[in-house]
């Protein structure tokens, strides 16, 4: 498992691992049933502490995206399309909250924000 980790990021290494694995699971790059590297194996590969990977896996388990089988390590959990959408929606919502708050503070009107969001979607 190769991930991009940076010490210069505004996220902790743990957050970077969680975000990148989550994104791979939600996009289907990692499919239900796929095995994840062992905690110590991934720590070695990414050159991070064991506790960093341990906590990242913990987080993903709590989100229901991965699970462990005794003695067999971690696997990607089957996640329904509905649940994936729910997680994606939640994450967008979190981002938007912050963006909207900043935009309003910087003087944009709700209509400005709506229009910009439409434009961004139209560019896709």
């Amino acid at each position: 498992m190769l991930l991009n980790l940076s010490d210069q990021s505004s996220e902790t290494l743990q957050q970077q691992i969680v975000r990148q694995l989550r994104s791979r699971i939600l996009t289907g790059e990692l499919a239900a049933g796929d095995a994840l590297p062992s905690i110590r194996g991934l720590a070695k590969q990414l050159r991070v502490s064991v506790i960093t990977v341990d906590r990242a896996y913990d987080r993903l388990s709590q989100e229901g995206l991965i699970g462990s089988r005794r003695g067999k390590g971690y696997f990607v959990t089957p996640v329904s399309a509905k649940k994936k959408t729910a997680i994606a929606r939640q994450r967008l919502d979190d981002h938007l909250d912050k963006l909207v708050e900043d935009a309003l503070a910087e003087g944009l009107t709700p209509d400005d924000i709506r229009r910009l969001l439409e434009t961004a979607l139209d560019r896709r």
Binding site: D7, S10, E11, T12, L13, Q14, R40, G41, A43, K44, R47, V48, S49, V50, I51, T52, R55, A105
Partner: protein, 294 residues
């Protein structure tokens, strides 16, 4: 299960300096970074753990065996690496390794050979002609070939060039994969262990002032900017505070608490940012913080 090491009431005094009393333990398979300024007692602690120095009070166990010159149970479990390692200077590295192998029942000649190759360590050269980097590499090879379950690293990378340092750290990351070895790593440079250590212990003037996981430190500490026109009371968990006019910036050892407190006080434009582990360490070691851990 016994801890990899445990010291209880450990103390050692020299004229003008006292280490401890320390109570410190390390779980098997984990990495504890030991940070402190020069002269804070890191090496003294290491020497007590390695059985190189007899403490004035207290005792140390390694995997349940008392560390004492007259006992032997602990010796094969511990290896010690520093940048001042002593070898037979006129012998080659290879001959030094062969000599050391006699003392360690779990010694692996294969491991010594593989590691030497991996680290590009010349084994034919007399030790006195080795560069500083190669001497440290030889120390690491000697330590790991003995298959220790506790590796004590005393500022091992001090004065090494970045490439050697990176090779050295790579070997340690690999070593941790099996979970059979615990690392106690002293340094005053954080970049060595920021990614390697599960936990950090901060030593100031012979006392451990804080021990916490790196993850928790990063999660708790925040640099926060905000605006406020009127005077502020003492802020909760704040270890540093500067302001120009109504612009304020504080460093907090518990961001959530400080932010909640600031909101209560009606501060405006509260913006928190993460604090790097280096910056956190400096503030803890400087000791000007009451480092709130409640």
């Amino acid at each position: 299960m016994h801890p990899a090491f445990r010291c209880t009431g450990l103390s050692k005094s020299y004229p003008g300096f006292r280490l401890g009393p320390l109570d410190l333990a390390l779980q098997p398979g984990t990495v504890l970074g030991y940070l402190g300024p020069n002269g804070s007692g890191k090496t003294t602690t290491m020497h007590c753990l390695a059985g190189l120095l007899r403490p004035d009070t207290g005792q140390t166990e390694v995997y349940g065996h008392i560390v004492d010159i007259s006992e032997s149970g602990w010796k094969t479990d511990v290896a010690y690496v520093s940048n001042r390692q002593s070898f037979y200077e006129r012998w080659s590295g290879g001959r030094n390794l062969a000599f050391l192998s006699e003392f360690y029942p779990a010694w692996s000649a294969d491991k010594a050979a593989n590691l030497s190759r991996r680290l590009d360590l010349p084994l034919q050269t007399p030790v006195r002609d080795l560069s500083r980097g190669n001497r440290v590499k030889l120390g690491l090879v000697a330590a790991l070939a003995a298959n220790p379950r506790l590796l004590l690293l005393d500022e091992p990378t001090a004065g090494l060039d970045p490439v050697v340092r990176d090779d050295f750290l790579g070997v340690l990351f690999d070593l941790l994969e099996t979970g059979e070895c615990a690392l106690f790593y002293s340094t005053h440079i954080l970049s060595d262990i920021g990614r390697l250590a599960d936990e950090l212990a901060f030593l100031v003037d012979g006392q451990i002032v804080l021990r916490q996981t790196v993850a928790d430190l990063l999660e708790d500490w925040r640099s926060i900017t905000f605006q406020r026109t009127t005077d502020l009371p003492e802020l909760k968990s704040v270890v540093e505070h500067e302001h120009t006019g109504r612009d304020h910036r504080v460093i907090s050892s518990d961001g959530d608490t400080t932010i909640a407190h600031l909101s209560e006080l009606g501060a405006e434009h509260i913006r928190p940012m993460m604090v790097s582990i280096d910056e956190i360490a400096v503030r803890i070691l400087r000791g000007d913080s009451h480092v709130a851990t409640d």
